[in-house]
Structures are given as C-alpha cells and as structure tokens.
C-alpha cells in the first residue's frame, strides 16, 4: 500500500515537474512579455505543486531522501509522467495545445482528488485546484483565440492539435497504480472523468473552429516509466547541476 501510494504521488508530481520545466523553457522567449510572464507563472505553480508532492513522498518513504533527490536524482525510467507532458514546446501553438489538453485533465482530476481519503493529498489538491482554475482559463482562451483567429494561427493550432492528439488518452487511462489507489479510496476514478474530459476538449476545439481528430488516442507508457526520447534530453538539462556537482547547495 505504501509503495503504491508513493508511485501514485510520483505520477502526479512528475507530470507537474516535467510540464513545469517545459514551460520554463519559454522564459525570455515568448511572443509577448505578458505571455512570457504567464507561461512562467504557470510553470512556477506546477513546480510548486510538485514540490509539495515530492516532500510528501519523501516523508512517506522515510529513507532520508528529500524533494530535491526526487527531482534531481531519479532517471528516466523512474519518472511516471504522462508522455504528453514531456513533448517539446515546438512553437506557441504546440505549447498552448499541450497545456490545454493537460489542464482539462488536471482540472477534472483535482476536483475529484480533493475528496481523497488521504488527507495530505486532499490538502495539496485543494491548494492546487485554486491555481489550476487560472491555468485552464488561460489555455482554453488561447486555443479559441488562435483557432478562431487568422488563417496562419488556425493552421498552426490545427497542426498542434492533430500531432498531440495521440497522447491525450493516457491521462484518463487507468494503470495498476491507479486501480490500487482507487480501491483504497485514495485515488481518482479515471474512467469517471474520461467522458467529461473528451466532452470538454471537443467543446473547446469546436468553439475554436478546429477539426476534431477522429482516431482513438493510443500513445501510452509514461505512467509506467516507458518514455519518449524527449524526457532524457529534458532531464539532462534539469539535473545537470546535481549530476556534475553532487550535493551542491545555494
């Protein structure tokens, strides 16, 4: 039970750290100053949420590891984030599509997680949800603005949606850890939010005048440690300092 709970926390925390790291790559490069600040604010929220989760996992584990060990000293196969989170930024449309697909899930997920029997997870969820409310509004509005925008923004948004579509099923697909935690009353029933997820995604894409891909999203594996090559490159940058100078502190 304890190990399953720790694995479950990694699934949640790794999504946030990896997506937060991706968003932070925009720092100083976004199309407008306000967008730069927005993307890095969202990154900060997500990384902050992951810190609360990593600290909790470290405490449960009781082996003297800290939140930093969890972020800086685990290798690819130990990471449990969904494949969507590690996909590269590419351009602004990709970044917004990825964020939107994630935020819709994250929002529905946390609305359920606040009822977890695990008090600390419920507390982290309650805190996170207030921040996620801002994220989903930001990304949804941008999907609509770009999709229902100019010919160029529409085309770029459509490409991003088509390319990322295959990755969006994994978030609401249960793996063994999800099933165990659901049975304990700790985890969220992903089957329950799956319908709402696709309903919301399609509603916003339609409002954005974008085509909704027809195929069933099939990519998965991240939640069980099977990642795309992108994660290795991301971790190389994220973990470089601690790998080169073990134990370095501020």
């Amino acid at each position: 039970m304890k190990q399953s709970l720790i694995n479950y926390i990694f699934q949640l925390a790794d999504n946030k750290l990896i997506l937060g790291q991706r968003l932070s790559e925009w720092c100083g490069h976004a199309p407008e100053l306000e967008i730069d600040i927005a993307l890095t604010n969202i990154a900060l929220d997500l990384i902050g949420q992951s810190r609360n989760l990593y600290s909790y996992a470290a405490e449960l584990e009781g082996k003297g590891r800290t939140e930093d060990d969890m972020a800086y000293l685990r290798d690819c196969e130990a990471y449990r984030n969904v494949l969507l989170a590690e996909q590269p930024n590419e351009d602004f449309a990709y970044t917004i599509a990825r964020q939107f697909f994630f935020d819709v899930y994250n929002h529905l997920f946390h609305k359920e997680l606040v009822n977890s029997k695990d008090e600390q997870l419920a507390a982290i969820a309650e805190k996170s949800l207030k921040e996620i409310n801002y994220h989903i509004r930001f990304s949804s509005e941008w999907v609509i603005r770009l999709g229902d925008g100019t010919e160029v923004s529409h085309a770029k948004m459509q490409t991003a949606v088509d390319d990322l579509w295959d990755y969006i099923g994994e978030m609401t697909t249960m793996n063994e850890t999800d099933r165990l935690m659901l049975a304990e009353g700790v985890g969220v029933d992903l089957n329950k939010i799956r319908t709402a997820y696709f309903h919301k995604v399609k509603e916003i894409l339609a409002e954005a005048t974008l085509n909704i891909p027809e195929e069933e999203p099939f990519q998965k594996g991240g939640k069980d440690g099977l990642h795309s090559e992108h994660l290795g490159h991301l971790l190389t940058e994220l973990q470089w300092m601690q790998r080169a100078y073990p134990g370095a502190q501020w």
Partner: protein
C-alpha cells in the same frame, strides 16, 4: 513568560520579502501560534504552491522571535484550509493600495474565473483612483498579482488577485 499576544506583536515586524509593506500577519499567512515551554510553534500557510518567499518567511520568523528571547521556534507549514485573500487584514489592504498595488476585491474568487472570457474584476487605479481600468494579463510580476492598466491616467498597475 511569553504571551501569545506578544508573539503576534513580534510577527508584525516580519515583512513579506516580495511585498515589503505587508507583514506576514497582514497577509494572513500566520494561521496559529502554539506556545510550549519557553518556545513556540508558528503555523504558516503558503499563498501559492510555488511562492518562492515561503522559505525566507520561515527564516525571518525564526530570526525575529529568537532575537527577542523566544527559543526554540518551530515553523510548521500547513496546506489546508488553502490560503485565501479573505484572510488579508484591513490594514494590509490599505497598505497595499498606498504602495501602488490594487487590493483584492472580495467576492471575485476563483469560482468566477472558470467562465471563459468572463469579465474581469475592475479594481480602482491605485494611482488616480479612476474606476476605468482594464485587465492586461491574469498573470503578473508575482504569482499573486494580475497586470492591469488604467484607462484614465494610462499607468499600468498590479492588482492583488482574489484567491
């Protein structure tokens, strides 16, 4: 003998590192004070999950209390109930405005922001008190602020968003 009142008074000397006119008490970050023996446990809650000021707030609380002979000082962080701008003191709101940041408008909480393209709250311009202001971005210079502009004096300003 240290009284709870004295500790609250001392905490009114501990300022938020990012908004240096507000104390941790004004912000509503201090939730409980539990004295034990000659020491005290101070229970705090973060404003935002990623608030980078929390660690230095913790150090500053310990330093302030220990400098006044209270020892040991233990700072505990709790996440629930989640912090809300409703906990900001009247004094805090007044000081924010004086400092050039529009204080949060009660009742414009996160529930309302679920609606897309919803009308944003309209804070008064802290420079010229005009009510004609517009939202530039929900995300501002720190996690707790949104960016606005005044239509009357044209100055940009920060709004401490309701949370």
């Amino acid at each position: 003998m240290v009284t709870i009142n004295k500790i609250w008074k001392l905490l009114e000397q501990v300022y938020d590192p990012e908004i240096p006119v507000l104390t941790v008490v004004d912000m509503g970050v201090v939730r409980h004070i539990n004295p034990f023996g000659y020491g005290v446990e101070v229970v705090i809650t973060p404003t935002y999950s990623g608030c980078p000021a929390m660690k230095s707030i913790e150090f500053n609380i310990i330093a302030e209390l220990e400098a006044n002979g209270i020892h040991p000082v233990k700072v505990t962080t709790v996440l629930s109930p989640a912090w809300t701008t409703d906990w900001m003191s009247e004094e805090g709101r007044r000081k924010l405005k004086e400092y050039g940041i529009a204080p949060p408008i009660p009742g414009t909480n996160a529930k309302r922001i679920e609606a897309l393209f919803a009308e944003a709250p309209q804070p008064e311009c802290p420079h010229c008190e005009s009510k004609e202001t517009k939202l530039i971005s929900q995300f501002g210079s720190t996690a707790c602020k949104a960016l606005y502009q005044c239509n009357s004096c044209k100055e940009p300003f920060d709004y401490f968003k309701c949370h």
